[in-house]
Amino acid sequence: MSENAHPTNGTNGANGTAATVKLTRKDFVTDQEVRWCPGCGDYSILAQVQKVMPELGLSKEKIVFISGIGCSSRFPYYMNTYGFHTIHGRAPAIATGVKAANPDLQVWVITGDGDALSIGGNHFIHALRRNIDLKIVLFNNRIYGLTKGQYSPTSEQGKKNKSAPMGTIDYPINPLSMAFAAEATFVGRSMDTEPKHLSAMVERLAHHKGSGVLEVYQNCNIFNDGTFKNFSERDVKDDRMLYLEHGKPLLFGKNKDKGIRLNGVTPEVVSISERGGENGVTVDDLLVHNENSPEPNLSYIIGRMQHPEYPVPMGVFRSVSKPTYEDMLGDQISSAIATKGAGSLEKLINSGETWMIN
């Protein structure tokens, strides 16, 4: 992990309050039967989140999981914390109210590609741009699962499905581009089939203070089986996926012999070697990742890299810190009290021009 893995350690109630007793994974499991299709990628995400929770050292009652509607959004029922399964697309708005009301809570938003980017696109963007401390986990299975297989805003163009029997004509949305456009302070990506990486990313998100989004590629084995497999299958993934590390060059390939170089502002895949690969490219020519750059320019460029032109980047694209919405709101309240004094009802109702009738 990068040197600033825990930028806000201890500074924030929501991200630091210690639980009295050390909790275990089990403490975060509810009695509700998990109701996803057998083989659904959601199970793996649930497992990793439940695994990470105790590591955060937060007591259960301080944690709230808020979701919209979708298969993914049933998530809160399975987390033994406070939870709110809201309505389609609105989770960020409801979560905003929860966090603004009580900044001591650690507030998670669980959403799907339809929930977050179709009906909920606007709330998603506005929550991110306000930098309110919400930990948004976006389950991207490139399909509407719960409604049984219509295309979503992340579905590949041309994909045939229930609502587009001749193939989808919409151009897909890149969730990360949206996050960068909203200048989100934390942006990451992981995958259901990469438990280790996934749990690390969940932990990074948990420790970030400010609005953060983690896109998780998730396989819907019923309605969109294998949509990620052409780059994520065991035998090809080393050559088709790239793991970002802060301060490290963008290297990939089984024997780390390929990398990404910038040509102007366009990334290009190059093969390298000590003695310089084809036309003598060495590691030093490669793009070096910087999560913390104040401007999202580079993250935006890397975020747009897609299979097959490029390896698919995984990891933390951006992690910077900016004052959060809830803190600024709190500051205004404190300074209002400091200047005007704590509100007095007496004063309030007697304000303005008054007169006596006797």
Partner: protein, 623 residues
């Protein structure tokens, strides 16, 4: 600010003709400051002990071209030595600052009423903009009125000769010249306005000075030139002794909800998206952060109510406010609050519709939307203030019911109440209801959908409470456990339970009162902002010895216990509404009484005279 008593103010003046009630309207271009002029006349009148009622009238456009008809802004006020409840049907006095103002307002002026015009503005250009072929103040077409021609603009500039102010600002003072004229005509003291000017323009002394100079110039002009043959006096009204302030409905609403949150002991969270005529509530609340009030300007109405629901889940007093179109957008989320049984107050400051409709005009046509505007059986409480001052009380009531019954409650105001103002007797804090809210903390025996026997409310168990971790959501819940549940019997049970919970509010709301005899020929039943007009009309008829009473609903869902009996005690029930008969439909369906709907949908309040006229039909027909 310390209270000013009348003694400080009322100077001994030459005796003058006494009047009981006067209705004045100031009308001019949006840029002419008619709202300030009107509100100054209002507070001065209040301070000297008149009863008052006002009706501002803004143009829909931000600022239509100067001198144009849509650019006209008006302010009507009614002041009296007796109790009054409406801004008056027809002004007896009209001050028209330009031709457009004359054109749009003259039709309302009573026959042979006083008409003061600013002659300087009646030039060819302005006349054309107002669509006049010939100059009305010349061509004798105004012979039906007592016309007073005053070169207000030039007199204003004369009065300011030598002032350092730029021309534009000098010109802006002309509304105070008109105010001065009216102060003299109705024998008002200038002190309160002088005081106000000095406070308001404290920073800009030369502006303050100019306004004062012009005000006095207007006053003296009327005094010295025998412009008006007589002048009038309107004595003190017999008003309940106490401390008063002038308040608009939106102010009282904002203050009321802050008060409610203080009484409840929980911070107020207001999630809103600006919309006319509700925006001022957001503006007002955002000024009171020192009460811990959190205002959140959301990206839209859905996020606004969503955030309020979240805040209420987290233990704040969740409040969201908008007007009709915004309520339509909030519909789905209101259903979520009903299903999750969270306290929530939805403010709807109703305006003319449908769709964008008449954004700045008043209407009462969202009652059925509040009742039924959601998918499936989705009951909520509904309250409606009846006057600007009443907003303060009903805001508290809305929060009391919402938190006690763990349910969304609608608060139906309208554009007329919101912008209209009345003198408000400032209540004493301890006269206000006890309503501390209780959060569940006992882990023992906790279930998210446990029921309070009396109210059927579920426990309010907020995140952060150890041991009460639980999940809620929009899917049907099993009673008690709150688990997702698809069982047919449970669904039927829960649908009826949610309805019953709202019905139970009845035990917590006051009976409806009858104004007049408890039985008789005609009962006039109203709700919301029609209170003033209805009561005035009924009072007039009662004074003529007619058998008519009125009753006004401030609680619309559920209805007060005694409503049914009252309806049955009259031969005819008339329900005047600024819609096509929405309350009438609910009453007919519930009580099977053949209630008569009297509807007017003009974006304006009822005239007392039209109500009197309508009611009489039934008094006669019943003889």
């Amino acid at each position: 600010m310390s209270a000013v008593t009348i003694e400080d103010l009322v100077k001994t003046k030459p005796l003058v003709e006494e009047l009981e009630t006067v209705t004045i309207r100031f009308a001019g271009d949006s840029g002419d400051g008619m709202q300030v002029t009107g509100s100054q006349f209002t507070s001065t009148s209040a301070i000297i002990g008149n009863d008052i009622s006002t009706l501002p009238d803004f143009p829909a456009e931000i600022r239509a071209p100067a001198g144009s008809l849509p650019g006209v802004s008006g302010y009507q006020l009614n002041f009296s030595s007796r109790e009054i409840r409406t801004p008056g049907d027809e002004p007896q006095v009209l001050v028209a600052m330009n031709p457009a103002a004359l054109k749009t307002n003259l039709p309302d002026l009573e026959q042979s009423g006083i008409l003061v015009v600013n002659t300087d503005e009646f030039n060819a250009n302005n006349l054309r903009k107002a669509g006049y072929q010939s100059n009305p103040i010349e061509d004798g077409s105004l012979s039906g009125y007592r016309l007073f021609k005053v070169p207000i603009t030039s007199n204003t500039l004369k009065a300011l000769e030598g002032s350092a102010l730029p021309f534009k600002q000098q010109d802006r003072c002309k509304n105070f010249y008109a105010l001065g004229l009216m102060y003299w005509l109705y024998d008002r003291p200038m002190e309160p306005t002088l005081k106000w000017v000095n406070e308001k323009f404290g920073a800009k002394p030369e502006v303050a000075a100019a306004n004062i100079q012009v005000l006095k110039a207007g006053f003296n002009y009327a005094d010295t030139t025998e412009l008006f043959t007589t002048h009038y006096r309107v004595g003190k009204a017999k008003i309940k002794p106490g401390k008063y302030r002038n308040i608009t409905g939106n102010e009282a609403t904002a203050i009321g909800f802050i008060t409610a949150s203080q009484l409840a002991g929980r911070p107020l969270f207001y999630g809103s998206y600006p919309i006319t005529p509700a925006s001022d509530i957001l503006h007002e609340l955002s000024k009171h952060k020192n009460f811990g009030v959190k205002t959140f300007q959301a990206e839209d109405e859905i996020a606004a109510i969503g955030s309020a629901i979240g805040a209420s889940f987290a233990g704040h007093i969740g409040l969201t406010g908008t007007s009709g179109p915004g309520v339509a957008l909030k519909s789905e989320a209101i259903g979520l609050a009903v299903m999750t049984e969270l306290p929530l107050v939805i403010i709807d400051v109703q305006r003319g519709g449908p769709s964008t409709g008449l954004p700045t005009k008043t209407e009462q046509a969202d009652l059925l939307q509040a009742m039924f505007g959601r998918n499936s059986e989705c009951p909520v409480g509904i309250v409606a203030p009846s006057t600007p001052g009443d907003c303060f009380i009903m805001a508290i009531e809305a929060v009391r019911l919402a938190t006690k019954y763990m349910s969304p409650v609608f608060y139906l105001s309208d554009g007329y109440i919101a912008n209209g103002s009345e003198p408000w007797e400032i209540p004493s804090i301890d006269s206000l209801p006890e309503m501390k809210v209780h959060f569940r903390t006992e882990v023992e025996g906790f279930f998210p959908y446990l029921r309070d026997e009396k109210t059927l409310a579920r426990p309010w168990a907020i995140p952060g409470t150890p041991g009460l971790e639980h999940r809620i959501g929009g899917i049907e819940k099993q009673n008690i456990t709150g688990n997702v549940n698809y069982d047919p019997e449970n669904h039927d049970f829960m649908v009826r339970l949610r309805a019953e919970k709202i019905e139970r509010m009845q035990q917590d709301i006051p009976d409806i009162e009858v104004f007049g005899e408890k039985t008789g020929k005609v009962l006039v039943l109203g709700w919301g902002s029609t209170h003033g007009a209805i009561t005035t009309a009924v009072e007039q008829l009662q004074e003529q010895g007619q058998s008519v009473s009125s009753a006004h609903l401030r609680y619309l869902n559920p209805f007060p216990k005694n409503l049914g009996d009252i309806l049955k005690s009259f031969e005819t029930v008339i329900i005047p509404e600024l819609n096509l008969g929405q309350l009438a439909m609910l009453v007919r369906a519930k009580f099977l009484v053949d209630a008569v709907s009297f509807s007017q949908v003009k974006g304006k309040p009822f005239k007392v005279s039209s109500l009197v006229h309508k009611i009489k039909e039934y008094l006669i027909s019943n003889e």
